[in-house]
């Protein structure tokens, strides 16, 4: 099949495959943005953001959870759910970030969708934005099926730095900074003898150097002499201008040097060279030929810094635009999306949910999760798929929403991704109309909107959006069980034979001990571990005590001898907070128990019980 090739000097791999064009995805023109057209699109995006009512966001990541139990599930408290989301956000990568500023007008949604292709390229060679990231093959294969072009993404994806990384990078790059008036201390410090000696020495060096540079006679000297002179005088070039570096040992010396250089302010421009570990490494004086030249230099420095910042920030420009607009954001799976956004674009994720929400609120005051709006409509079965949810609403409610996407036709036909973000807009429009958060109200009074929307804002974890459907039919009975369950009534069981079903396990337990005479439920968490929920308060403790006592007898003793183990909810919380993300929950629980034993038990236990007593009830209704 491979023909014989004619020789040619080009060394391009021509086998690079083109991705398939998928016709059914051509519905909405979504502007695809890569490194090539990023800068030119920014101003347009900025306009759309500032004129929009809401901004929908949607991410395409390289994975979500590695083992079944890492997935946020209905038995998670907000904190454990957050820890799971955090674990995922820290490991996986965003490859596509779709944003869609939109307006709601009557039953019309006017949307301006953009889909950004991201790749965490180490532009500064500093191991940033991320040293490495994890990919789940199932995610990549699914993306491949949609015709995703990985070459575009990796060759031409937009890079970025988080806010925290940007400030770290600035220090480490050590770019010279122009001295602004704030850094110049106005008060003249009292001079010690040492200071005076230092200043005078530097002053004479600067004077010599300046004279040498400006003296026209020297220019006729031989090249060797010039270079020698350069070495002696410590002169360098800064761009096309001569400059001189003055080493300093302390911030005080920086001030002294700056003060001294003011005497030469007609031609010298001082620059500060930051040290790698923070602080100042040296002051550099740049010689300019005239006042115009001086202004030119200052402008040059400004544009240089501006360009560099832009290059460093990359995609975060967009994130900053969104943040600066303070517009409400609409997401579908907000906990997941915003842990990713926080960790990639703001700063490393804080250790718990509360701090996370506080930190996030500073950047994004309003986040609305459509899943939460959905809950208000009634007992909607949990839906992970937006299209399915839209179809469901279509069947139940009459709330036609017209989508208008005035974006110009896309130039790179056939590679349209990021449809979810438009679907989120559509779904949000539908939900607003059903819930009577009417667009009219939005237009007439912003306050009304605020109060109407506020009810739904910033709820990151009510019922997680991405829980798996129960895999065992046996636990169907739970669907009718509407009551909430306290964490205290939940016991984790493991150490039984693998691939056992919840039904069999329940049967086995039923006859094993008197605590199981009352109503209880069993659900598998993963193949290695199950949770038992006791209907009657207090039984869980009895059971745990029985499991740990020597008095355990009968069939239960038999099961314990076979390896059955039990632990309360607090052990599970400790698993999540200690980051023991083993692939089987049973292993993680075992390890946690093992490391727990070594701590002084009393102290830890009381601390823990306080935490879990204050835990909110968890709703097991929709298992």
């Amino acid at each position: 099949m491979v023909p014989q090739f004619k020789p040619s000097p080009l060394r391009i791999r021509f086998f690079c495959t083109k991705t398939v064009q998928q016709n059914h995805h051509h519905r909405w023109p979504i502007k695809q943005i890569t490194k090539t057209n990023f800068n030119e699109s920014l101003s347009e995006i900025k306009n759309h953001i500032s004129s929009s009512d809401f901004i929908a966001v949607s991410l395409q990541n390289t994975g979500s959870f590695s083992s079944p139990w890492h997935c946020v599930s209905t038995f998670d408290t907000p904190d454990t759910a957050y820890l799971k989301a955090k674990f995922a956000a820290e490991r996986f990568q965003i490859l596509q970030f779709a944003i869609c500023p939109f307006k709601l007008q009557a039953s019309k949604v006017i949307a301006y969708p953009y889909n950004f292709h991201l790749f965490p390229r180490d532009e500064l060679k500093m191991g940033m934005p991320s040293y490495s990231f994890t990919c789940q093959t199932s995610y990549l294969t699914a993306m491949a099926k949609e015709g995703f072009d990985f070459n575009t993404c990796i060759y031409d994806g937009i890079s970025y730095l988080s806010e925290a990384q940007e400030s770290a990078a600035k220090v480490r790059m050590g770019n010279p900074m122009a001295v602004d008036h704030a850094t110049k201390s106005s008060s003249s410090p009292a001079l010690s003898v040492a200071d005076t000696v230092f200043i005078e020495r530097v002053r004479s060096r600067v004077k010599h150097w300046k004279n040498a540079c400006t003296d026209s006679d020297i220019k006729t000297e031989a090249a060797l002499v010039t270079s020698l002179r350069k070495i002696v005088l410590g002169g360098e070039q800064f761009g096309s201008r001569p400059s001189m570096t003055i080493d300093v040992c302390s911030e005080r010396q920086v001030q002294l040097v700056l003060k001294m250089l003011e005497d030469f302010s007609d031609v010298l421009v001082p620059l500060i060279i930051p040290a790698k570990g923070g602080g100042t490494q040296a002051v550099r004086a740049v010689l300019t030929s005239s006042d115009e030249d001086k202004d030119l230099l200052k402008r040059e420095l400004q544009t240089f810094e501006f360009e560099q910042n832009k290059r460093v920030r990359g995609f975060r420009e967009v994130i900053d635009l969104i943040s600066a607009s303070q517009k409400p954001l609409v997401a579908h799976n907000s906990l997941n999306d915003f842990t990713f956004i926080h960790s990639k674009f703001l700063a490393p994720l804080p250790p718990n949910m509360n701090e996370f929400i506080c930190s996030l609120r500073l950047a994004y005051p309003q986040v609305i999760d459509v899943n939460y709006l959905l809950k208000d409509i009634g007992p909607v079965k949990k839906m992970t798929n937006i299209s399915a949810t839209i179809a469901y609403l279509k069947n139940r409610f009459f709330a036609p929403i017209e989508m208008e996407i005035p974006n110009q036709a896309n130039e790179n036909e056939g590679k349209i991704h990021g449809h979810n973000v438009v679907k989120i807009c559509q779904l949000f429009g539908k939900l607003c109309s059903i819930l009577k958060i009417t667009p009219d109200a939005i237009e007439s009074s912003d306050d009304f909107l605020a109060s109407a929307i506020n009810r739904y804002t910033n709820i990151f974890y009510s019922l997680p959006g991405s829980s798996q459907e129960p895999t065992n039919e046996e636990i169907r009975g739970w669907t009718n069980d509407k009551r909430k369950v306290s964490c205290e009534d939940v016991v984790f069981l493991w150490g039984f034979r693998e691939r056992i079903s919840a039904g069999i396990l329940k049967n086995m337990l039923q006859g094993s001990h008197e605590v199981f005479a009352e109503a209880f439920n069993v659900r598998m968490v993963d193949r290695s571990c199950a949770i038992v929920v006791f209907g009657k308060p207090g039984l869980s403790n009895t059971f745990k005590n029985v499991m740990n006592s020597k008095a355990v007898s009968g069939p239960l003793r038999e099961m314990v001898s076979d390896g059955l183990k039990a632990a309360g909810y607090e052990t599970y919380q400790r698993v999540c907070s200690s980051g023991l993300w083993e692939s089987a929950l049973a292993d993680a629980l075992d390890k946690t128990l093992a490391s727990h034993n070594c701590l002084s038990e009393a102290a830890y236990e009381t601390k823990q019980s306080e935490i879990y007593l204050s835990n909110e009830l968890i709703n097991l209704a929709e298992l």
Binding site: P3, F14, F15, G127, Y131, S132, S138, I154
Partner: protein, 711 residues
């Protein structure tokens, strides 16, 4: 994944290449679509080959900066780092280039294959997700060389390791043996409780009627031969009469899963001569059928038939998912000489991807590798260890592309350089899809197929320089047994950085002798028992500050070197081994006391911030063996679960002393307290199964010393 990527794309890719003016090195690119045919032709080429050159492209090398290869890596630590890399990163391209000497043409013929591989989860057996790590710099590097990620992810050949295959087969066996009556029973018990609500009962009644009607019609049909058709035309789509395994049957369509459950219940309760079956039909979607059976034994026969068929199907799909591993099995079973360039990591990847999990120690790894691949040659070692070749290399770098251009200029430059052939050179011809060529353009570096080709050429040329005459070499004789090569076979660089070489057939480790003059040694000889690892110190402290700080305590000659592992950790090498324990003892006591004396202590500068930890080299090894990879070493230590600040060590001569001390201690102190703390130490260690019993004893000893000092 049954759905194949439309072949048209591939075809387009190929056809576009015909028309394009770009020509490149003739490589056989192998993807999903042409894998089977490529494999069968490769089989012949490998069988006929004198040696097979290989090369791999991975998604990354190190999972954290501190996992990079250092001169301070002891061989076991080096292995742990290689193991970590092979376990975390994926292989996305595999180059195989079998070389055969053609006596007629007096040249080598090679068939360079470039396999795109990508492991997909094709079997629904394993719950754990398949995932791999990407190092961003490596991905960027590959992108720079125009790596085709689409070809890899969209069309890469998948694979199963031997271990995965075994597991999958075992799983299939157990499910088809296990699925005896007990699972049916358990289903029944729970199902029965569902029949409470009226709609369910009514539906069940209706189904019962319909089934008996169908059954009745069937029996009448058979007995009387009357032409009465089943009367439920309204539900023809739902009840479709078919033949299943030569038996009349109903195929159920368009029912909800709950309805199917009810039907299943009805069948089991009321119809002895009907059997409900759920079979996976074509297109992998499952089909629900109710089959007419004549007797209980007929039912058993049917069940067995179905079960066997399903089992065979499942086994077939496992066999079909082996994919690229067939190539590795081929290389292994043919026992050909494998040639790689600096290929220790490559071999580790091959092991972990296609055989099974990497063993915990380098020794076990080496002996298993030797079983699978009895003859491996590393061209980088070959070039560095032989003086003739070193001369030929004219002291240039031994990187693959450099070696290729120095040793094989006539191949590197293709036909344009025939006039260069002054030195005796081995001729190599490339054959792809039965088209031979001896002139070509240079290929793309870091494409596995081309790299494998270069490696093979370098090896062939090196052999010729060593005086191996391929004309004399009989084709039946294994090249690996040639006496001129014998001393180079099965040597691999454990670490290129410090020139440590391991012999795969004997397990012996040697340091490179010849090359050492080439490599400048910046560091004095490394004695691991003299090394302390310190981390978590104030970030402004640099190696020099730390050295100064410690020298103040132990004198200017006490510290041999301070080496940054990363910005948060350093190795400190002392001049004498006993200083390690002295230092750790001192640090431990400074950690505990917070009095003015310890604040003014010279070491206080190092301990500032209260997060400074220190331990011996063994702890470093322990941290390396963890599967976690945090970017900073200090974070890693935390993630591994290190809660102490100083881990004391015991020199062997003191152990006895503490042995007695321990006894005294056990008598004097509260036994429960001692017991508990002892457990703690065990647990710290038990997290890591590779840790030897000896070291856990050491820790216990160290604990007792610490306790003794507190008194």
């Amino acid at each position: 994944m049954k759905k194949r990527w439309p072949i048209t794309i591939l075809y387009r890719a190929f056809s576009s290449s015909t028309t394009s003016t770009t020509a490149s090195f003739p490589l056989k690119h192998v993807k999903k679509s042409n894998f089977d045919s490529a494999l069968s032709s490769l089989r012949h080429h490998v069988q006929a080959a004198d040696f097979v050159a290989i090369d791999l492209e991975m998604t990354g090398i190190t999972s954290a900066p501190w996992r990079d290869s250092f001169e301070f890596d002891r061989f076991d630590v080096r292995y742990l780092k290689v193991k970590d890399s092979a376990e975390k990163f994926a292989v996305i391209q595999f180059g195989v280039s079998p070389f055969r000497w053609d006596p007629l043409k007096q040249s080598f013929i090679t068939h360079p294959h470039n396999f795109f591989i990508f492991q997909r989860q094709e079997l629904p057996l394993d719950g754990a997700a398949y995932e791999f790590l990407c190092q961003t710099t490596s991905m960027d590097f590959l992108a720079k060389y125009q790596f085709d990620f689409n070809a890899c992810i969209h069309e890469g050949v998948s694979y199963l390791s031997r271990e995965q295959e075994d597991k999958a087969l075992k799983h299939v066996n157990s499910t088809y043996e296990d699925e005896s009556l007990d699972s049916w029973h358990s289903l029944k018990e729970i199902r029965d409780t569902h029949l409470f609500n009226i709609p369910d009962i009514l539906f069940a009644e209706r189904m019962k009627d319909r089934l008996s009607e169908w059954l009745g019609g069937l029996l009448r049909n058979r007995d009387g031969g009357s032409e009465v058709q089943p009367s439920f035309n309204d539900s023809k789509q739902q009840f479709e009469t078919i033949f299943f395994k030569m038996r009349p049957a109903i195929s159920l369509n368009g029912f909800t899963s709950h309805q199917l459950l009810l039907i299943q219940l009805v069948v089991r309760k009321h119809f002895k001569d009907l059997a409900y079956l759920r079979v996976s039909g074509e297109n992998s979607c499952s089909q629900n059928v109710i089959v007419y059976i004549e007797s209980e034994s007929d039912k058993k026969m049917l069940m067995k038939e179905v079960k066997d068929e399903q089992k065979i199907d499942a086994e077939m799909s496992i066999k079909a998912s082996i994919g690229f591993r067939h190539v590795i099995d081929l290389l292994s079973s043919e026992k050909k000489l494998i040639v790689g360039h600096n290929c220790f990591l490559d071999i580790a990847h091959i092991y972990s991807k296609f055989f099974g999990p990497l063993p915990l120690t380098a020794e076990e790894f080496i002996s298993s590798v030797n079983k699978y691949f009895p003859h491996i040659i590393d061209t980088k070692i070959l070039l560095n260890s032989n003086s003739i070749l070193q001369q030929r290399m004219k002291k240039s770098s031994t990187s693959l592309s450099k070696a290729f251009s120095v040793l094989c200029p006539q191949i590197a430059l293709g036909s344009k350089s025939t006039h260069l052939a002054l030195q005796p050179s081995v001729k190599v011809e490339v054959e792809v899809d039965d088209i031979r060529s001896s002139n070509w353009n240079s290929g793309v570096k870091h494409e596995a197929g081309y790299d494998a080709f270069m490696t093979g050429c370098v090896f062939a040329q090196a052999c010729s320089h060593l005086g191996i005459d391929f004309k004399q070499q009989s084709s039946s004789e294994n090249l690996a047994h040639n006496e001129k090569l014998r001393e180079h076979v099965n040597l691999l660089y454990l670490s290129w950085t410090n020139g440590e070489i391991i012999n795969l057939s004997t397990g012996n480790r040697t340091s490179e002798s010849l090359a050492s003059n080439k490599r400048k040694n910046h560091y004095p000889k490394i004695l691991f028992e003299c090394i302390v690892i310190v981390w978590g110190f104030p970030s402004h402290l640099k190696a020099w500050d730390i050295r100064e700080c410690i020298s103040k305590v132990y004198g200017p000659t006490s510290v041999i070197s301070v080496y940054h592992v990363d910005e948060t950790a350093v190795f400190v090498q002392f001049s004498r081994a006993e200083m390690v324990s002295k230092f750790l003892d001192l640090k431990g006591s400074l950690d505990r006391n917070n009095d003015p004396i310890s604040v003014l202590h010279p070491l206080a500068k190092l301990l500032e911030g209260g997060n400074t930890c220190a331990a011996s080299y063994e702890t470093y090894k322990e941290i390396c063996s963890s599967t976690v990879s945090k970017v900073l070493f200090a974070d890693q230590a935390k993630a591994v679960g290190i809660k102490w600040k100083t881990k004391l060590v015991e020199s062997s001569d003191k152990t006895k002393e503490h042995e007695s001390l321990r006894k005294v201690k056990a008598v004097n102190s509260d036994p429960s307290c001692g017991e508990r703390t002892k457990n703690k130490n065990f647990d710290d260690v038990s997290n890591d199964s590779s840790y030897s019993q000896l070291s856990s004893d050491e820790i216990i000893d160290s604990f007792y010393t610490r306790e003794a000092k507190q008194i």
